[in-house]
Symmetry: C2
């Protein structure tokens, strides 16, 4: 069997990390990178950690020049966070009869907020005989798939709390800005009001994924966003919060079933949590038969986790039946320590 | 769509628990119970917790009288721990064109120790257009599927420790005997030598499941079994260990890849661990990128967990393509809080 052929669309922090990871794996080749602007024509190796060495070069090209029928088994789309902005790009790939793994947060469960676009992507994928899934560390695993999995050993579930307490210190300037690091309380509240601060994208997706998986009919999802003020100066590689200013963003989400609060999401993110004694971790707390009281501490880092999840889902999405998939209808993700081709069904391979 | 129709084969602690659970669920009926000996002709309700009330009675019958083509969508087989002893019964069901969920520990990954029987079950299932899976709390989730899932957010994995520290106190006389509760050290060591003490069944299965999932080629699996001696008298509902005698059984398993110890299983089971300050829990400890350091404490109780896992996998095995499946090729288990029919694909349903 030929190596698995991958195209990466969007060589930012996530796409670049996926390139680095793929270059360490067996049985898989990066056959193209789609980008825009000044990156076009440049070598992929100018934008990633891995040295080119004696590998053949991969030049970044415009999407229409790189993504062509028969060019690859899968495109990793790392260009967007939202279904509506990603839609045209995803359709573009599917219409070229190539499978897609999308890192867009909303694509982890697109029907939560964009049911029409989700139905349309499903239709287009089926028409073209390929499949598409959105994944990442969160949404994609920590606050949803892992929760669903743990309900699997329960006879009944009454209430779910999913909590992710994480550090923003490893992240770059864009995340510092989106989360409001270093600004004043007033600026933060204003940023929430105007929508300038995005915070975490994914509560609607995680809540609907859990609810649909276990058979709860969620009638309402709410969420809130509060500043985490710091009493001490905190400094991370790309962020600085003076004492009295914002060091992070505490988001909470709520899913209601029959008028009752049944699913709670609690996701405080901040720089340098250790400095103020905050222990980071991923928590699954289920009130049910039996209760589940699970923690992974420290938390799975967001960047590495998303990079790994997208790469690790490549075999599953190549093997999947045509259509739009989600993490709850595919087999569980798993690290790829062997030859990626050993995980691929011959008949599902595009580049034979 | 008609309700999902279930037959239970073996109405012991596990099968009986599944009956109780199914009676609480929507969209599913128990249409038959297969048993043997004195149970035949008796009401199912004589052997389970749930009161019959105004439900139609279900009489326990001989397997050949109960398990007939078109009689059910799935049979829950709760009769065995081992593939070789379960084989004829599983074949019997598959040849009657009914799907199977087996609680036999070795069926969680039958090719680990019985590759021929596994291949044969796969062939028979496919020939008859139905599917079969083995599951339970462990093997089935805690020491294998959960580990695999957490590797899904890893770029690389170097070493895995799966630890389940659990209490045997809820279990009955049979488990007390299998685990050597209350006997002397000499009796325990003798029981290990003669094979009279079975301890935990599942390390081969869990190790091979993890290794196959992530692409490690396990060349050797070893395991050991040691007595947990108690310094104090310990008493559980069905067990008693005098100070100086055996209060539990500590099993360890090892999986080797390229001569290196890569997967460790650590599973000490005892009555009344709280009495000696032992905190029970389920641990997933992965050395990799990133590290995973997860604990669910206290542990998922074995009995409830296995009952829930088997029932919760019913929709997945009805929907699955024909053949032998394992937990790593089906979607994740999940509690069933809605109508079970909403989780079933119409075309996969046997009893239309």
């Amino acid at each position: 069997m030929k190596n698995v052929k991958v195209i990466i669309w969007g060589l930012g922090a996530m796409g670049g990390g996926m390139a680095d990871l793929l270059l360490k794996k067996k049985g898989v080749d990066i056959v193209g990178v789609a980008g825009r602007g000044a990156k076009i024509g440049k070598s992929m190796y100018d934008y990633i950690q891995t040295e080119r060495g004696d590998r053949p070069d991969v030049l970044i090209g415009a999407p229409e020049d790189v993504i062509k029928e028969g060019a690859a088994d899968v495109v990793l789309c790392c260009t967007d966070s939202f279904v509506k902005t990603a839609f045209d790009r995803l359709r573009f790939v599917l219409e070229r009869k190539i499978n897609v793994v999308s890192s867009a947060e909303e694509m982890a469960y697109p029907k939560a907020q964009s049911p029409q676009e989700a139905a349309e992507l499903d239709r287009i994928a089926k028409e073209n005989g390929v499949s598409i899934v959105g994944t990442g560390i969160n949404p994609g695993l920590i606050m949803d798939l892992l929760v669903v999995t743990m309900t699997g050993c329960c006879e009944e579930v009454e209430h779910i709390v999913s909590r992710r307490v994480n550090s923003l210190s490893p992240f770059g300037p864009a995340v510092m800005e989106e989360q409001g690091i270093g600004i004043t309380k007033e600026e933060f509240l204003d940023g929430v009001k105007t929508g300038k601060l995005s915070g975490h994208v994914g509560f609607h997706e995680s809540i609907h994924m859990i609810a649909d998986a276990i058979g709860w009919d969620v009638e309402k999802v709410t969420q809130s966003m509060d500043p985490i003020m710091t009493d001490v100066d905190r400094k991370s590689p790309y962020g600085f919060a003076k004492a009295g200013n914002v060091a992070g963003c505490a988001m909470k989400g709520q899913g209601y079933v029959d008028g009752e609060l049944k699913i709670e999401m609690d996701h405080p993110q901040q720089i340098e949590p250790e400095q103020v004694g905050v222990q980071t971790g991923d928590y699954v707390i289920i009130k049910g038969t039996p209760n589940i009281n699970m923690v992974n501490s420290p938390e799975v880092p967001g960047g590495i986790g998303t990079i790994a999840m997208c790469v690790n889902m490549i075999p599953h999405i190549i093997n999947a039946r045509p259509g739009l998939h989600t993490m709850i209808d595919l087999p569980v993700p798993r690290v790829i320590m062997g030859d990626m081709r050993d995980m691929i069904c011959e008949e599902a391979k595009i580049v034979k």
